[in-house]
């Protein structure tokens, strides 16, 4: 497999890998490093790539596992700091700012979800993968995926409602 044909196979899902990595690792730099590392791993195993039926699903699984490993090894160090770096903006009177704020809040809320739900929300609601593909990627049963997804969606919505009604009701 030559470099160019390899790139043709893997580049279409580079951004997806990056976004999943960023969802889990929080910082952009970490995610970029993870993406780089992953593609390098894929490149090293390029002979085996043709054996996989779905390279993209395989890459996503690898990304997920790699990020989990990173999180485990970094749990105590700098990743925590990034979480606290986030500053809640003052509620502005301007409607558009409030709107943007709400969207940022969603980001923050997803951050607070358990890792598995984070991954599932990312794969389903953002990347719009098929359920079969997600099951394949995460090595989970379809019902388990649905349950986790449903829980994540409900949590997000309730948290949003709670935030918006804060101080009103």
């Amino acid at each position: 497999m030559t470099q160019s044909s390899f790139l043709k196979v893997v580049l279409p899902f580079k951004d997806k890998v990056f976004r999943l990595a960023k969802r889990l690792l929080v910082s952009k730099e970490e995610a970029e490093d993870a993406t780089q590392e992953l593609f390098f791993k894929l490149w090293k195993n390029k002979e085996k790539i043709t054996d996989y039926k779905n390279v993209e699903a395989f890459a996503m699984t690898m990304t997920k596992n790699y990020c989990y490993d990173r999180l485990k090894s970094k749990q105590a160090s700098n990743l925590r700091l990034i979480h606290t770096n986030y500053k809640e903006k003052e509620t502005a009177l301007d409607k558009s700012i409030e709107y943007r704020d709400s969207i940022n809040q969603v980001h923050q809320l997803i951050e607070n979800l358990p890792e598995q739900q984070k991954v599932i929300i990312q794969l389903r609601d953002i990347e719009q993968y098929d359920f079969d593909e997600i099951c394949n990627m995460l090595n989970m049963k379809p019902t388990a995926v649905r349950v986790a997804l449903s829980r994540a969606r409900k949590t997000l919505r309730e948290a949003l409602i709670k935030k918006h009604n804060y101080g009103i009701r």
Binding site: Q3, F6, L7, L11, K14, D15, V17, F18, R19, K22, A31, E32, T35, Q36, F39, F40, W43, Y99, S102, I103, Q105, V106, H107, R124, D125, I126, E127, Q128, D130, V145, R146, V147, A148, L149, S150, R153, K154, L156, R157, L160, I161, H164
Partner: protein, 140 residues
Amino acid sequence: MEFVDLEKIVKKYENGATSLQEEITLRNYFTGGTDVPYLQEYEYLFHYFAKAKEETCTKNIQLNPKTSKIKNLKWFSVAAAIVVSFSLFIGKKQQDAAVVKEQYAHVVKTLEILSSNLKKGEQAVATLYTYKYTINKILK
């Protein structure tokens, strides 16, 4: 979209039972804004999902990164060993040269002293000669 349909799909969505097609419908509807107050939250959610999908990785992927750090370290030590041995070699050479120079200077100095002493002797001999010569002249 009919409100009843919308509510049905939203319910399904919450239970994680929607198909991709239905989710796309929801996404299209909510990103366009909604008039239903109690579904307001979905507008934010879907806006965020749409926005999140636009993010791209700006870094270029390198398939042949420079040799890993460990390998580099190995070469560093090799380079360091070469530098040390080379500098030792040069240092030794310079030291030898300095010793030779010193010895040379010593020899030169001794020879100079010797020659100056010899000159003194020569002068004395010359005076002796003149002395002998004049004596001979007188005696003849």
